[in-house]
């Protein structure tokens, strides 16, 4: 069993989605405990995240590893009883760059780091119309909506999404995170967002806090820029 686990981890390290799925399938076929495998994968992804922060590996390797993990987790979690699934669940995040903004590297960094941290991520891409954030979040029953904006004339669309959720009477279903170069904690507070992070790793910390606090968190959770 340990050799299958090792092969699964190697598949994730090299970013092979196909091998990761196959090894995960083999693992459960052989009667392995999916929770144990998920635990090992979680530790591995933390190591991969740490390597990225030390620049021992770079964004493409992390993206591929995160994709391979997604494949493996789809197999492993299917074998876990529902009550256990709830215990290990980090949360589901719908993420995208808002309308009128085609920049995506910051958003991709955050999406990847959230995946690395065990969140389920639905990436809508860049230049996403406000209504699509809402539709997708409702469709996939997201916990968090995360919006990036690198340019000021598009920041207003972060507010539009929140207003739309408010007007539909579904705002309380979601935690809203915002970020991007010109997006400040003050702006996040002004538009009634729930979370803001300066760097990608800050965003992950904020997402964890928002999920831990469930629906009871009040006020903005901000990380990464004391005094701003």
């Amino acid at each position: 069993m340990s050799s299958v686990t090792e092969k699964l981890k190697e598949a994730i390290r090299i970013g092979s989605e196909k091998d990761a799925r196959e090894m995960a399938e083999k693992f459960v076929e052989q009667g392995g405990d999916p929770l144990a495998a998920i635990s090992e994968v979680t530790v591995l992804m933390q190591e991969i995240g740490d390597k990225f922060s030390r620049f021992e590996i770079f964004l493409p390797e992390v993206i591929l590893a995160a994709d391979a993990v997604k494949e493996a987790l789809a197999v492993l979690t299917a074998k876990i009883p529902e009550e256990k699934k709830r215990e290990i669940r980090r949360g589901k995040v719908v993420i995208g760059t808002v309308f009128g903004d085609i920049h995506d590297i910051g958003k991709n960094l955050v999406a990847t780091m959230l995946q690395v941290a065990g969140f389920e991520v639905v990436d809508l891409g860049a230049d996403v119309p406000s209504g699509r954030f809402v539709d997708e979040a409702e469709k996939v029953k997201a916990d968090i909506i995360a919006m990036s904006s690198l340019i000021t004339p598009s920041m207003i669309y972060q507010k539009d999404v929140i207003d739309q959720l408010q007007d539909m009477g579904v705002r309380s279903r979601y935690r809203i995170m915002v970020g991007g170069a010109p997006v400040t904690p003050q702006w996040a507070e002004r538009i009634s967002a729930d979370g803001w992070g300066k760097y990608a790793e800050d965003a992950v910390e904020v997402a964890k806090i928002l999920m831990e606090g469930s629906r009871e968190v009040s006020g903005l959770v901000a990380r990464g820029a004391p005094g701003e």
């Binding site: 493409p60 009128g100 903004d101 000021t152 400040t184």
Partner: protein
């Protein structure tokens, strides 16, 4: 500029190999960069302890590697999900056909932009601006005027509008189509008030999509080819889209000089500093083939702090500027991208380091500045732009080794603060809005840092 050539590019965008963006970003480009770095022996050659490159052999190797990447990958068109590929001859022809001289503006403010080589004594052109920073509508003219009042500044660019006739700026809407023209009118008024009506500019800066640009460039009284370069920026290196290609088409229709540009990220899709350098050089070549630009930006940021004033970013930018200036006769320019705010000495140290490195490496024009990494509205002023322009002019003729020693002396004064930089003060907080002069506090910081630079051997061009 050739409409025929551009039509060929559009045709390629519809007939090239199909490719999904994720494959492009996570597999095709990174793997190709890794292969090329290995084959050219460039893995691990970054020398952060000597942040300004002085090795011409390394410049040759990087240029060859960058050209090879351009040839092997081409550029992805996001709108069609197809790769725009070129033959070797097409790429070489595109480089050869780029103009090597641009005249802009009129009267005593007319400027001529020409190529420079490393250690060239000819001073670069200075384009100064609160680049990409959002400004309150009522402060746009004052801040542009505060920059244009300094004769050491050759060209000015508007910051981005926060509001338009009091309305929140919403990108991609008809508001944007209208404010494109408005930006041009504001810049013209600012240069007139500064007593420099013939001063050139760039536009449309507040144009997140093509709408502001189509509405503003060529509109009566606003930007036109006699005084303004048309801005057209790639969404990211080695990728293009229809929004950008609309801008190019519009510039061709107007016979406008085009700025092409992008940021390659250390730590991003291109990987380490060496990979970012190869990626940026490939992007320089491909921009020439896809967009027929007049002036070309191909800069490198560090994803850890989103600026270009740390060691690795300065090194990577120095080597790419050297390659772009030595190996082509194009008009490459560089952007200074800082993370600290106005009224801090760190902003001036950052500005000095990247400027000195790029000027000694042969850049023909420097564009600055971006205090706080464009994070805070109104956080820019005239003085850091004056300082940047002065350092740029003063660095002409500096040998790369001298520039390297200067940068090495300055970096320890701020590099540990790159990820948690001081915010500083906003334009109204560090400027007397009646006289547009810096506050005594800001002026004292400026004088202190200039004195430090003079002690390190850099002479202020005029007192």
């Amino acid at each position: 500029m050739s409409e025929t050539k551009f039509l060929e590019v559009l045709d390629k965008a519809h007939t090239g190999p199909v490719c999904k963006v994720k494959d492009w970003e996570a597999r095709i480009v990174p793997l190709e960069i890794k292969r090329i770095l290995k084959e050219h022996g460039l893995t691990g050659v970054c020398a952060p302890e000597n942040p300004v490159n002085t090795d011409d052999g390394l410049v040759d190797d990087f240029w060859e590697a960058g050209f090879e990447l351009a040839l092997s990958t081409g550029m992805l068109c996001l709108a069609t999900e197809r790769i725009i590929k070129f033959t070797e001859e097409e790429l070489k022809e595109a480089l050869r056909n780029r103009p090597s001289r641009l005249t802009l503006g009129s009267g005593s403010d007319r400027v001529v932009i020409e190529p420079r080589k490393p250690e060239d004594k000819k001073p670069p052109i200075t384009t100064m601006t609160p680049l990409g920073i959002t400004f309150s509508e009522d402060l746009i003219i004052p801040v542009c005027q505060a920059i244009a009042q300094y004769r050491v500044v050759d060209i000015v660019i508007s910051p981005c509008l926060l509001t338009f006739h009091g309305r929140i700026c919403r990108g991609g809407t008809p508001y944007e189509t209208l404010w494109g023209k408005y930006e041009g009118l504001l810049v013209r008024e600012a240069t007139r008030r500064a007593g420099r009506p013939g001063m050139p500019a760039w536009g449309v800066e507040s144009s997140p999509t093509e709408y502001g640009y189509l509405g503003g460039y060529g509109a009566p009284g606003s930007f036109d080819p006699s005084w303004a370069i048309a801005i057209a920026l790639l969404p990211s290196p080695l990728k293009t889209d229809y929004s950008l290609l609309h801008k190019v088409a519009h510039a061709i229709n107007w016979g406008a000089p085009i700025e092409s540009g992008h940021w390659t990220m250390i730590g991003g899709y291109e990987g380490p500093p060496e990979g970012a350098a190869v990626g940026a050089l490939a992007a320089h070549v491909l921009q020439c083939a896809v967009m027929q630009p007049t002036v070309i930006q191909s800069d490198i940021l560090d994803v850890r702090y989103f600026g270009n004033c740390g060691r690795e970013a300065i090194w990577a930018n120095s080597i790419t500027v050297q390659a772009r200036s030595m190996k082509t006769n194009t008009l490459p320019f560089g952007v200074t991208s800082q993370v600290s705010g106005p009224c801090t000495d760190m902003l001036l140290y950052e500005t000095a380091c990247i400027s000195v490195a790029e000027v000694s490496s042969g850049i023909c024009m420097v564009m600055g500045t971006r205090p706080t990494g464009c994070r805070f509205p109104d956080y820019a002023s005239g003085l850091e732009n004056r300082f940047c322009a002065e350092v740029v002019k003063a660095s002409a003729g500096l040998r790369r080794g001298e520039a390297c020693e200067l940068v090495k002396a300055l970096l320890p004064r701020y590099e540990d603060r790159l990820r948690r930089p001081p915010k500083g003060l906003s334009f109204p907080q560090c400027t007397d809005l009646k006289t547009l002069q810096p506050t005594p506090e800001w002026q004292a910081i400026y004088e202190k840092v200039w004195k430090e630079l003079e002690n390190l051997g850099l002479q202020k061009p005029w007192k």
